[in-house]
């Protein structure tokens, strides 16, 4: 019975794939009073459905590990259904329905974690619902302009109308992707969510905000090319959005560096990555949208991989703080490679596809002549190296720092299989940067009526600004590596393994097991001494939101005083209201 149910669950987790393969035409469902839900699959939605199809079964696998948390599985299925509805939506009502189902089912999934605290879960649901309600408000404004709920571009909105729509929709999607200063719900919820589910939150759920952000400009005529004038070689409004994205990336990157918990670090890194995507959407050219989609693809793969690896580490060691881990490379080698490939992709290093994605965005920024943005983005992406290094050094290298880390074993197969598959996919897309362009991205660009990027061959990424060849790069590097290693081993002389892990050059002393040799938690701490970074790290929005919550409670207390249990007071108020309205009327109208 249990096995059958698990199998069924896994099959359901493959539903995005099945949908992608079998969907043709469209579907329609009456809701109420002439509102109909139309389901169709646009190329853009198809792209995000592909991402979902990649992530869903891979996250489902670790969730199936015994003992199963059945409510989680049910909620996961609901979540998947909601997201598919959202992606298939041809009208705003089904979009919203999918959006909301996604919101509350992911919230309830978050509650399945034993670590979720009140502040986290409240901020998660309130921000997400605020996003949803802003979206609904936008939808209603849109409806009042067009008279129906279909997702299509407006005929000729006036500037105030367009600005209202942009503000409502834009805020909704920016909350979902978590740009500054609306990101506060992300780090703690990604951190406290059930470990496997964090992968899905970061990898897939946040992509729905990206989907919305890319969808948003299509609502306006010519918006992808220009909206509200041009700045240099790109849309002026997008320039603002791009800065929001890039500032998000920079701040989140530095915050990520200063984290001491693996999942929190990954959460901030998610914010930073989505910030890049926001920037690219802001640029809005064909190159940039391609870059945004590529980044979304890579981010999905990488974050699912990293979160699952980390989930495996947490499962096997019971530790999640950097200072409590170490030296897992010998105990969990496959997870080590998972994290290694993951951070290479995350940092955007060649030859993995993270580089291709960043290349497209960089080039699009040069093309738009927005060089200051480019510089800020470079700052974020080089600073990212530090947290990437922290992520691999602290758990896997150095010295084991806790009994859990000293005795851990390799993660169980439900954690390893997704990692291996994802590593394979990352290497594949790295070898063939044109593959993703040709198969996944160009159809979307054509669907959005933009110039496709085009790929001579799958091995090549070609743009008007030049490109590169992934196969040649990988071959050169591989051959060089083999040659160097071979030559090195051919040389005379022998290698000797150090006798003990404490056989180190340690300031002239001989370290022992008691010497604090692990640098995991401290890494990046000295960055605070750089004035700008120190300033960034001292800022935070938590105080503001806590203050807001406090004000609401104070208002509740104040208004609650009206409801004190004195019947005579209630009657008095009623009589006074009656008399006052009569008097007011008498004074105004003359009785």
């Amino acid at each position: 019975m249990s096995a059958m149910l698990r199998l069924l669950f896994f099959v359901v987790s493959l539903s995005p794939t099945l949908l992608l393969v079998t969907w043709d035409g469209s579907l329609s469902w009456a809701l109420i009073d002439g509102i109909r839900l139309h389901l169709t699959l646009t190329p853009l939605a198809g792209f995000f459905l592909t991402l979902l199809a990649l992530a869903a079964p891979l996250v489902a696998l670790p969730m199936l590990r015994r003992p199963c948390d059945w409510p989680s599985l049910v909620l996961y299925v609901l979540l998947l259904l909601g997201m598919q509805l959202l992606l298939l939506a041809g009208d705003f009502v089904s979009f919203f329905v999918g959006w909301e189902v996604m919101t509350w089912s992911s919230y309830l999934l978050l509650l399945r974690s034993s670590r979720a605290d009140m502040e986290t879960s409240q901020s998660f649901i309130l921000f997400n619902l605020a996003s949803a309600f802003l979206l609904l408000a936008g939808i209603l404004v849109f409806f009042s302009l067009t008279g129906d709920f279909a997702i299509r571009s407006l005929a000729e909105p006036s500037l105030p109308q367009a600005l209202t729509l942009l503000a409502l929709f834009g805020l909704a999607f920016l909350i979902k992707v978590g740009t500054l200063p609306l990101h506060i719900w992300i780090p703690s919820s990604y951190d406290q969510a059930p470990d496997a589910f964090s992968a899905f939150l970061s990898g897939s759920v946040s992509k729905m905000g990206v989907y919305g952000l890319i969808l948003l400009p299509t609502l306006f005529p010519d918006a992808l090319a220009s909206f509200a004038g041009r700045f240099l070689n790109g849309p002026a409004f997008g320039y603002l959005l791009a800065w929001v994205g890039v500032i998000t990336s920079v701040v989140a990157t530095f915050k990520a560096i200063s984290q001491e918990d693996m999942k929190r670090l990954l959460a901030y890194s998610s914010i930073a990555q989505v910030g890049y995507i926001t920037t690219a959407v802001g640029v809005g050219s064909s190159l940039a949208i391609a870059g945004a989609l590529y980044l979304a693809l890579v981010h999905t793969l990488v974050k699912v991989l990293l979160f699952i690896s980390v989930a495996g580490i947490v499962l096997q060691t019971g530790q999640r703080q950097f200072k409590d881990l170490g030296r897992l490379i010998e105990r969990m080698p496959i997870s080590f490679f998972g994290v290694l490939i993951g951070i290479i992709g995350l940092a955007g290093m060649p030859p993995l596809p993270g580089f291709a994605a960043k290349y497209l965005v960089f080039v699009s920024l040069v093309d738009a002549r927005w060089l200051l943005l480019l510089a800020a983005m470079i700052l974020a992406s080089t600073a990212a190296f530090i947290y990437c290094y922290k992520l691999i050094y602290a758990p896997f290298l150095g010295h084991a720092n806790s009994p859990g880390a000293k005795e851990a074993r390799e993660a169980p197969w439900p954690y390893l299989v997704p990692q291996v598959i994802l590593m394979g996919l990352l290497v594949l897309f790295g070898l063939f940067p044109g593959l993703a362009i040709d198969v996944l991205i160009d159809p979307v660009l054509v669907g959005l009526q933009m110039a496709p990027i085009g790929a001579e061959s799958w091995a090549k990424l070609t743009t008007v600004y030049g490109g590169y060849d992934g196969v040649v790069l990988m071959l050169v590097f591989g051959i060089a590596f083999v040659l160097v290693t071979g030559l090195f081993l051919l040389l005379r002389g022998r290698m000797r393994r150090a006798g003990s892990p404490y056989d180190l050059s340690f300031a002239g002393e001989v370290p022992t097991a008691d010497t604090p040799l692990h640098y995991g938690a401290g890494m990046g701490r000295e960055l605070r001494r750089i004035p700008l970074v120190g300033w960034i790290l001292r800022q935070g929005t938590r105080g503001f939101y806590l203050g807001l919550a406090g004000q609401m409670r104070a208002a509740a207390a104040l208004l609650g005083n009206l409801y004190v249990g004195r019947p005579q007071a209630w009657i008095l108020i009623a009589v006074v209201v009656l008399a006052a309205s009569l008097a007011a009327r008498a004074m105004m109208g003359g009785l």
Binding site: P350, I378, Y389, L397, V476, F488, G493, L504, H518, E526
Partner: protein, 305 residues
């Protein structure tokens, strides 16, 4: 195929030879300025060979061993993706398959691989050095990339070949047509070369708390070799971008050497900065010049147009 192999080997050879000669010269010059005799110009070569033929090398595990291999492979790859000559079929490597942004990133691949080895050694001082290196990278990369972006924008391509081809004749050299970009990248370039005053990461007195603290013997030889080759690759890249490239090896050496002299001259006269000072400096001075350059060369023309 054969051509590619021979060409690649030639590039590696050229960069290796140039590398140890330039550094030998650097040590001589440094010594003379400090009124010492200094070692022979071949000294670097001797040192390198000595390391390579050490009979015993201490290792701290597989990753510790593979780190230097990755950095060496990274150096080879970088060298092979930088075109050494223009209008020539030789010394091109695989540069037509790459571009400027790729090269910038390739410069970092190796050091990051080595960082894994440092971490694997279990020496906290090594990791501290790596963190400093990455911090410095974070500082220097911003103005460096901004300067290069100005060049890319100028030529509307990220292909080094195309940029080189556009600089026929002295008047069209990048340093003449886009001097601000050169000014912007100059100091970060020095830092990228790991030269004074930004050399706190791998500086001799800091070795004990630097990335190389645990390396010895043949592994140290590998690190030394890749460092020299990488320096040459960067020098050649700047020559390609700003000094019009070179049509034969001699011109290449001459241009690279003059550039080397310039950077050395700057290096010699400044005292070493702490990491955070360096980063702060990069974000204030070169980046400030870069922002000015962007406003002057990108914003103003577009507004006046």
């Amino acid at each position: 195929m054969m051509h590619a192999v021979v060409d690649s080997l030639a590039m590696i050879g050229v960069s290796y030879v140039m590398g140890f000669l330039f550094y030998g010269f650097y040590r001589q010059l440094n010594a003379r300025i400090q009124r010492r005799w200094g070692p022979s110009i071949w000294q670097n070569f001797f040192d390198n060979m000595k390391f390579f033929f050490k009979s015993e090398t201490l290792s701290h595990g597989p990753m510790f061993f593979f780190g230097p291999m990755i950095i060496m492979a990274g150096a080879f790859t970088t060298v092979l993706f930088v075109p050494f000559l223009k209008d020539s079929t030789w010394l091109q490597g695989f540069s037509q398959y790459g571009n400027l942004i790729l090269i910038i990133y390739l410069l970092v691949v190796g050091p990051l691989g080595n960082a894994l080895a440092v971490g694997s050694s279990g020496n906290p001082f090594g990791v501290m050095g790596v963190t400093r290196g990455l911090t410095r990278l974070m500082g220097l990369e911003v103005p460096f990339f901004l300067g290069l972006a100005l060049v890319m924008l100028q030529h509307e391509t990220s292909s080094v070949h195309a940029i080189m081809a556009a600089q026929d004749g002295l008047a069209n050299w990048g340093i003449v047509t886009n001097p601000v970009a050169f000014v912007v990248i100059l100091l970060p370039f020095i830092a990228a070369q790991n030269a004074s005053p930004f050399d706190v990461v791998g500086a001799p007195v800091e070795v004990y708390a630097g990335p190389r603290v645990e390396f010895g013997g043949r592994l140290l030889g590998v690190l030394m070799t890749q460092n020299m080759m990488m320096s040459i690759a960067k020098l050649v890249l700047v020559v390609d971008l700003f000094l019009g490239g070179a049509s034969n090896v001699l011109v290449l050496i001459a241009k690279a050497f003059s550039l080397f002299l310039l950077t050395t001259a700057i290096s010699m006269v400044f005292p070493r900065l702490k990491t955070e000072q360096a980063v702060d400096f990069f974000w204030k001075v070169p980046l400030g010049i870069g922002v000015l350059a962007v406003i002057l060369t990108v914003w103003l023309p577009s507004w006046s147009a």
